[in-house]
């Protein structure tokens, strides 16, 4: 009898896996199958060759768009960090009430529709919008072009992505043991030295998490750059859209999507080796 029980105990518990099946089936049908389809199209449309990839990787236009995508993602990440760090610090060092208020304001933009937020920026930054009106009012005759520039698309993407950065940094800041800061003070540290040698390194994991998350999400951004950005500074997702919608070049579009996917996975792989992917969500 003891042996039977031992055998039963050895058998891996199947329940957790069973609970996962609906999700697995869903992902297989609506994610994995289309993805494989895209991969196949990238080498079969219009003929079975690797020509699509050659064009994507060598063509000057595509290289420029890829470069621009990385630049924009980098810029957005940096701007998010500059906005998020002080805000997270403020949240962590204010009363519970104030922290909740800031958190509410930050996450509010999460609850508003993506498209609505993008259109709101179009209204705000447009030629008949309040910001241009203000610039004219203070006496600048020829106001700068705000909408359909790198500025407008970056601004909107920072607005959308900053909460990810804030939440990541805030969660790490919250976990810092206040005794560590006291200890640093007792050892003679204060002000900027305390920040640079103790606080900043302790929050570094949050910064790394936030940056990877924002950068990776930003690489694949479509709606915002297409609607708000400069047509001359297209991002890769926009170009894929154009290829498929306007030129019906499914092969080219698919090849670009695969390259984008590969780049994203490569970044996550590097991050995983350095920090562990499980930490990405806090």
């Amino acid at each position: 009898m003891g042996a039977t029980i031992a055998k039963l105990a050895e058998r891996p518990n199947l329940w957790p896996w069973l609970l996962l099946t609906p999700l697995a089936i869903y992902l297989a049908i609506f994610f994995l199958v289309p993805l494989v389809n895209v991969a196949i199209m990238s080498v079969t449309e219009p003929r079975l060759t690797l020509a699509n990839y050659e064009r994507v990787l060598v063509g000057a236009l595509y290289q420029r768009v890829f470069l621009n995508t990385f630049l924009t993602a980098g810029l957005v990440t940096l701007a998010c960090l500059l906005v998020a760090y002080p805000l997270a610090y403020l949240m962590n060092h204010s009363s519970q009430r104030t922290a909740m208020m800031i958190l509410l304001l930050v996450t509010m933009s999460f609850w508003t529709s993506f498209l609505v937020r993008t259109y709101a920026w179009m209204v705000l930054l447009g030629n008949n919008g309040p910001i241009i009106a203000f610039i004219k009012a203070i006496g600048i005759e020829i106001p700068p072009q705000l909408l359909f520039t790198r500025f407008s698309s970056t601004l909107a993407m920072v607005h959308i992505l900053a909460p990810y950065m804030i939440m990541n940094i805030y969660s790490v800041m919250r976990k810092i043991d206040p005794v560590l800061i006291r200890s640093a003070e007792s050892l003679g540290a204060r002000g900027f030295a305390l920040f640079r040698h103790v606080y900043l390194p302790l929050t570094a994991p949050g910064i790394a998490n936030g940056c990877v998350l924002v950068f990776v999400i930003c690489l694949g951004f479509y709606v915002t750059p297409v609607l708000l950005g400069s047509p001359r500074e297209q991002m890769i997702a926009g170009l894929i859209g154009t290829q498929i919608e306007e030129f019906l070049a499914f092969g080219m579009g698919s090849a670009m999507a695969m390259v984008l996917l590969a780049v994203t996975l490569a970044i996550l792989a590097i991050y995983h080796r350095r920090f562990g992917l499980d930490k990405l969500w806090g």
Binding site: V179, L180, R182, A184, S186, L187, G188, R190
Partner: protein, 355 residues
């Protein structure tokens, strides 16, 4: 002569609650002083006021006659070892120890050399490159100690630093801390709620209860001449007997279940009828089948015997008065639970506390 560290009427209130009530204390240079008391007795609050993390509601802290009030923690030059060590997880052991020197502008080669020397002093030579999480609890403790000492602080404060260690390591670290403290001659305040730690390490013990100091004395004095009932009960085991003075000149009192008892000479001067507390330590009581000559005898009914190997604790009653007797392990065979026996003591070992 002026003391090295002086606390003058230090009081701390949180709203209606008084955490510290007019604490006066003087500590000499190089002394090892322990703040002993249960949690919430004010010992840690006092430490935090000295360190500058808490502000006294009134009163002052002076080091070598100079007031510390108005100085931020980083300006006080006080080394602190916190309860959970508070090592910086992103720095190696050596970098942790170098940190206070770095903050004082000591440049690399000299600073790192000093830090390495200090690590060697605490017995961690060759561990400098390890991160805190790669060190055991005892080793982390040593790094924290080295870090708090490397900048030659005017005071070393230790806030229950041995709490997280297991028993063997704890004893080892007690000896280590004492050795290092002697070697450097740094004035040290050690906070603990563990009386054996306080007894074994300190030059003097400060007993705290409910926000005020109950007694300041050497370990032996605190043990043998407790000033208050609380001290007697908190440090070591005691038989506490409530009694009334009947003859102050002959030092005699009477207790309900034991009758007349003679007590040791004491500093308290009392008159007849004063209620007092008499203290007899369990190891000062002898157990025997028959009454002993020249000693005060009483009949005790044995209820429980707890054997510790080298010694045993015999718990019983004299009338309704509960009594604890500590006997050597070999002597316990003469008695069984449920039997009657004689307990005896000399008047020297009866310590009297006035209420």
């Amino acid at each position: 002569m002026q003391s090295y560290l002086q606390l003058n009427g230090v009081t701390k209130t949180f709203g209606d609650f008084t955490a510290l009530q007019k604490v006066d204390l003087a500590i000499d240079k190089g002394e090892f002083v322990t703040f002993l008391g249960p949690s919430g007795s004010g010992k840690t609050t006092t430490l935090m006021i000295i360190a500058g993390f808490e502000k006294a509601t009134c009163g002052d802290v002076l080091v070598e006659g100079r007031s510390l009030s108005g100085l931020a923690p980083h300006e006080r030059n006080i080394g602190i070892v916190f309860q959970n060590y508070a090592l910086f997880p992103h720095k190696t052991a050596l970098e942790n120890v170098y940190f206070p020197l770095q903050m004082r502008g000591v440049k690399h080669p000299v600073g790192l050399k000093n830090a390495a020397d200090m690590l060697e002093l605490v017995g961690l030579k060759g561990f400098g490159h390890r991160y805190p999480k790669e060190l055991s609890g005892g080793q982390q403790q040593r790094v924290a100690l080295a870090r708090a000492l490397v900048f030659e602080p005017s005071l070393l404060l230790l806030d229950e630093p041995l709490g997280a260690l297991d028993k063997n390591l704890r004893e080892q670290m007690q000896i280590e801390i004492k050795r290092i403290q002697r070697a450097l001659g740094v004035t040290t305040i050690f906070v603990t709620h563990d009386q054996t730690e306080a007894m074994s390490m300190s030059d003097r013990i400060v007993v705290f209860e409910k926000g005020s100091i109950q007694q300041v004395a050497t370990p032996l004095e605190v043990y043998h001449k407790p000033r208050t009932r609380f001290v007697a009960g908190f440090i070591g085991e005691s038989n506490i007997i409530e009694a009334t003075v009947v003859d102050p000149a002959a030092r005699k009192a009477t207790a309900e279940h034991i009758g007349e008892i003679e007590y040791a000479p004491s500093e308290f001067s009392l008159h007849k009828g004063t209620p007092v507390t008499l203290i007899i330590r369990p190891e000062h009581i002898r157990l025997s089948r028959d009454p002993k000559k020249g000693r005060h005898n009483a009949r005790m009914k044995v209820e429980t015997i707890v054997n510790y190997g080298d010694n045993a604790l015999v718990i019983g009653r004299v009338g309704e008065q509960s009594m604890r007797v500590r006997v050597l392990g070999a002597d316990v065979v003469i008695i069984k639970e449920g039997e009657d026996c004689h307990v005896s003591w000399t008047p020297d070992s009866v310590y009297m506390i006035a209420k």
